[in-house]
């Protein structure tokens, strides 16, 4: 194609003049400009690839000569390994390599201070499913046969299955891990106690004190894609690992460290990931095993977890036993909160140090506390390790606290939405534990769900058996401090501009389905004025892209978004300067949008964006830019642990749930959840709504259906997973899931990209307490333990005072609200 023809075609593809005029004449109060891509309901950049079966996931990759691996797992919850004999397995035809713990004797762990696991157990197994040996063979069938030929001699040890037992081990019992110091209990991962203000005095002085014991059952992520990894150690001595991970950077570092390789000769590629939710956010045994097996036999090796292995790999929501005390004044002001949590961690530390802090640190917004104390202890047990699941560490205490607030509202006969408004923390302030909170749209969230749900007509007014409940929450948009201490940028991109107008963004961000590739593309398209289809995103391949720390703690939109802005604005500046120079206009007169560079005072004066890029390339040389983002480091409390929970921005959410409870059976049906979420700014509303709906769904699932539980000695083999299949674990189908209505609230954060904050984890939190509170409104019983299963709800309903409590609650609040409604 001739260049003129090409440009003509490109100009035809760009937007008509009227659209450009609308852009410059529009008025967006917050930014004094109208967006052309940001805030629009664009089709996800990966949408068609995923909908046509073309997106390539790890298990879709087959390399020439590839072998298949399998991992032998412990049948005991706690045992010493006395010996392992692999000779028979090695001699089975078709087997190419067998490895055990001795092949990789370096411990690993996502948190550098708690590296307590080995890719394959060295001398002790700590849960049923702990990895013991691995095999690479010509096919899976042969690998499975080889596992059967490995002889392991165990000395079985008493197992700790309950956190209380682990906390107080019998004399002489072997703790799950060596104590960090002599005399300490090796069953404790972390203990934290922090106090802000005079909790005991204010509890004394409070007009009302609400006390409650709460239990949050463990749950797991259950992404539909099982974990999968391929390792290839090529003859030049370079290791490549393809893995369904959400933290390629941390995996990259840990692979090199554990395998004792030069990190510059290790490459981690993250193919399309089929869901993660926190369940793929640290290294797993299979990633080390495929690498080591390939190093041993010189061929690519793939391991794909079975669904059962995914359940045992776990790293999901910690079971927590919580005791909360809440002291308030007669008008409902929160004077004192005292929260204690016993956290069941499973066999390894995982992110447990952070979990322990999060269980207390993230409770201090969106409400102002007069004083606050929390004490959290995470203990090891002989079960699969818990870790970060969507809303890491804070979903459990949030459940307890929001139910406490509902009980306080009940005690004081205050509408629970009004109670929450009265205690609103505000924006541009500090929490009692000195977290810096900037934008805060929580009140708008409360207003939105109150209105949309018809709260005033429903609360305490629906017939017996039906009810509504409200809850609120906050969550971090990334963490100010990375997992391993360093001063380097947390996120970075590199943008390359081609003469055709095509723009490629090399992005470190980890796309796990949440849409980070799309976020990158819309920001760059907005800044450089190219159509969205001109932007390609290359992401999460350590050979090609700059470092981003990964998709965890809801950090990608905020951090990679700011990195994109940084890079794209450098390029934009060059382009407007070059066009301005060519037209003899100041650069401020030049706009880039919808495929054009044009004069903002006269949009008829315009050239296709590719020509504008060419002017800039002629003036400044080849166009490219790097952009990066680092977090503020001086905005946290100066106490030990004050950095944990510190985030550049916090999101806020409010939910109203409507339920129907069958008093005969205890079956709870959630009719609908209204979700209002302050995401700062919705860079793409479709993606934000998707995160909100998906979060509320997942919270609903934890409230009513899911439980990651293990058998005790009286019910089969102790430590065995109760239901390691998607059917028995009961993740909700379309028929189980309630109607979900997402309402976006935009508070426009001063530091977020275009004001954006997180949307992926915050909206999960309130689902659970909102449902709990709705159950009370429906039938007058408090179910303080999860899940709200029919037997549990039915048992609560057997309390002879339940009906009277329901009637009393109605009388106390319905009457004033009724008169208010009449006045309207």
């Amino acid at each position: 194609m001739k260049i003129d023809e090409f440009r003509e075609k490109q100009a035809a593809a760009a937007a008509p003049e009227a659209e450009l005029r609308a852009l410059v004449e529009g008025d967006d109060a917050a930014t004094d400009r109208r967006f052309s891509v940001i805030g629009t309901r664009t089709r996800r950049v990966d949408g068609i690839a995923k909908a046509t079966g073309r997106a390539v996931y790890t298990d879709d990759i087959a390399l020439p000569g590839m072998l298949h691996g399998k991992i032998l797992r412990s049948p005991h919850p706690h045992a010493r390994i006395l010996s392992i004999d692999v000779s028979e397995a090695e001699s089975l035809p078709g087997v190419h390599a067998v490895i055990t713990g001795r092949d990789m004797p370096t411990p690993y762990g996502i948190i550098p201070w708690t590296r307590d696991e080995y890719p394959l157990a060295l001398d002790r197994v700590r849960y049923i499913g702990d990895a013991v040996a691995a095999v690479a063979a010509v096919d899976e069938d042969t690998a499975i046969r080889a596992l059967d030929l490995i002889r392991v001699e165990y000395e079985v040890l008493p197992a700790f299955l309950e956190p209380e037992d682990a906390l107080a081990p019998a004399e002489g019992a072997v703790p799950i891990h060596e104590p960090s110091k002599p005399g300490r209990n090796g069953n404790i991962t972390k203990h934290v106690r922090l106090e802000f203000g005079e909790v005991d005095r204010l509890l004394e002085e409070a007009d009302v004190v609400i006390e409650g014991d709460y239990f949050f059952e463990g749950t797991t992520h259950a992404p539909i894609e099982p974990h999968c990894a391929i390792g290839y150690y090529d003859p030049s001595g370079k290791l490549t690992v393809w893995s369904a991970t959400q933290v390629p950077h941390y995996l990259h570092r840990e692979l090199a460290r554990v395998l004792d390789l030069d990190v510059a000769r290790v490459r981690v590629v993250q193919p399309t990931v089929g869901g993660a939710f926190g369940g793929k956010s640290e290294p797993f045994d299979l990633e080390f095993c495929v690498a080591k097996l390939s190093m041993k036999c010189g061929r690519p090796v793939k391991i794909l977890y079975t669904r059962e292995e995914v359940f045992y790999a776990h790293r999901g929501r910690h079971p927590m036993k919580m005791r909360h005390r809440l002291g308030a004044s007669a008008d409902g002001r929160i004077l004192a909160v005292d929260a204690q949590s016993l956290i069941d961690g499973g066999a390894y530390a995982s992110f447990g140090l952070v979990t322990t802090y999060y269980s207390g640190q993230l409770l201090t917004a969106p409400y102002a506390f007069g004083s606050y104390r929390f004490e959290s202890t995470r203990v090891y047990t002989n079960k699969p390790a818990c870790g970060p699941k969507r809303g890491h560490g804070s979903v459990q205490p949030r459940f307890a606290f929001e139910v406490q607030l509902d009980k306080l509202a009940e005690a004081l006969a205050i509408d629970p939405i009004e109670l929450r408004r009265r205690n609103f923390l505000g924006g541009h302030t500090r929490t009692i534990n000195e977290l810096r909170v900037q934008s805060n749209g929580f009140l708008e969230c409360l207003d939105a769900v109150e209105r949309a749900s018809g709260w005033k007509e429903k609360f305490r007014r629906l017939p017996y058996g039906r009810g509504v409940g409200v809850a609120g929450s906050c969550y971090i948009s990334g963490t100010n401090y990375p997992i391993y201490p360093n001063d380097l940028p947390q996120s970075a991109v590199q943008i390359q501009v081609e003469r055709s107008g095509r723009v490629t963004v090399f992005s470190g961000a980890s796309e796990i389905g949440q849409g980070s590739d799309h976020v990158v593309a819309v920001i760059v398209a907005e800044e450089l004025g190219v159509p969205l289809e001109y932007v390609r995103t290359v992401s999460a391949d350590t050979d090609l892209v700059p470092v981003d720390l990964g998709a965890y703690s809801s950090r990608e939109t905020f951090m990679v978004g700011n990195a994109c802005l940084d890079a794209a604005r450098q390029l934009r500046e060059k382009v407007v300067q070059a066009v301005g120079a060519a037209w003899e206009l100041p650069p401020s007169r030049i706009a880039l949008a919808r495929g054009w560079a044009f004069d903002v005072s006269d949009p008829t004066r315009r050239i296709p964006i590719s020509e504008a890029f060419n002017l800039a390339e002629a003036k400044f040389g080849t166009l490219g830019a790097v952009g990066w983002y680092n977090t503020p480091k001086d905005v946290h409390g100066a106490y030990r642990g004050g950095t944990i929970g510190a985030s550049p921005a916090y999101s806020f959410t409010a939910h109203v749930a409507e339920v129907e409870v069958d008093p005969e059976t205890g079956i709870v049906r959630v009719e609908k959840i209204w979700i209002a979420h302050d995401c700062g700014r919705a860079l793409n509303p479709v993606l934000v709504e998707g995160q909100m709906e998906g979060s509320a769904y997942m919270g609903f699932a934890e409230a009513l259906m899911e439980a990651q539980v293990f058998k005790d000695a009286d019910h089969g083999r102790a430590g065995l997973h109760n239901a390691p299949s998607l059917l028995d674990y009961r993740i909700p189908t379309s028929l189980d899931t309630p109607a979900l209505e997402a309402i976006i609230v935009e508070s426009v954060d001063p530091e977020g990209p275009y004001g954006a904050k997180e949307a992926g984890e915050g909206p999960l939190h309130p689902s659970i307490p909102a449902i709990a509170n709705a159950i009370f409104d429906a039938v007058g019983v408090r179910v303080d333990a999860l899940p709200f299963s029919p037997p549990r709800v039915w048992r609560a309903l057997q309390d002879p005072g339940a009906r009277e409590r329901w009637e009393r609650a109605r009388r106390s609040v319905a009457a004033p609200a009724m008169s208010e409604a009449a006045a309207d």
Partner: protein, 181 residues
């Protein structure tokens, strides 16, 4: 032990030498290179492997490949016409019905089977039809919206000039949030 199986996949007559215990899913993914169909559980719980066998949705992971011998299989790769996504696929992209995308091929095949037998399903009929497909990302809402949208487009196509129907049902690509409300 291996044997040769013959089946028609997405209109092509294909033969493959596979272990005799292979399922239709393993044959598609590992012998025929059609990796669009996903394995999420390998035991019939999740529905990610849903394909159409002679027009009816089946779980490929529970279907011994010999049951497909000589029959017609339609997978997600066969849904699109040349160079153009099927309206269901376009709608899944537009409505954010595919987040991680792993359940998407199976959901699409269930939805396609539904629209073949019921071109204008209600929301409840859609929920019923997807009862065997687990999605962990979306909460299903966006999936319903996409299927309803695709059904409207397909109906408009059948009723008259395609362009008029498309214009009536598609939101403009650049619609802002304000425009929408």
């Amino acid at each position: 032990m291996h044997a040769i199986v013959t089946l028609t996949v997405n209109g092509d007559r294909r033969q493959a030498g596979v272990p005799t215990h292979y399922t239709l899913l393993e044959t598609l993914r590992y012998a025929l290179g059609l990796t669009g169909t996903k394995q999420g559980c390998d035991k019939g719980d999740c529905g990610a492997c849903t394909v159409l066998l002679d027009g009816e949705p089946v779980l490929a992971c529970l279907t011994p490949v010999w049951e497909a011998e000589g029959r017609e299989v339609l997978t997600v790769e066969g849904l699109a016409a040349a160079g153009e996504p099927h309206p269901l696929q376009a709608a899944f992209g537009d409505h954010g019905a595919a987040q991680c995308g792993f359940c998407t091929p199976g959901v699409l095949m269930s939805a396609h089977a539904l629209l073949l037998r019921n071109p204008a399903p209600t929301r409840d009929e859609i929920r019923e039809a997807l009862g065997g497909n687990l999605c962990r990302c979306t909460g299903y809402t966006k999936i319903y919206e996409a299927i309803e949208h695709a059904a409207a487009i397909l109906a408009a196509r059948d009723d008259g000039p395609a362009d008029a129907g498309l214009a009536a049902t598609f939101e403009p690509a650049g619609a802002t949030q304000e425009d929408r409300s």
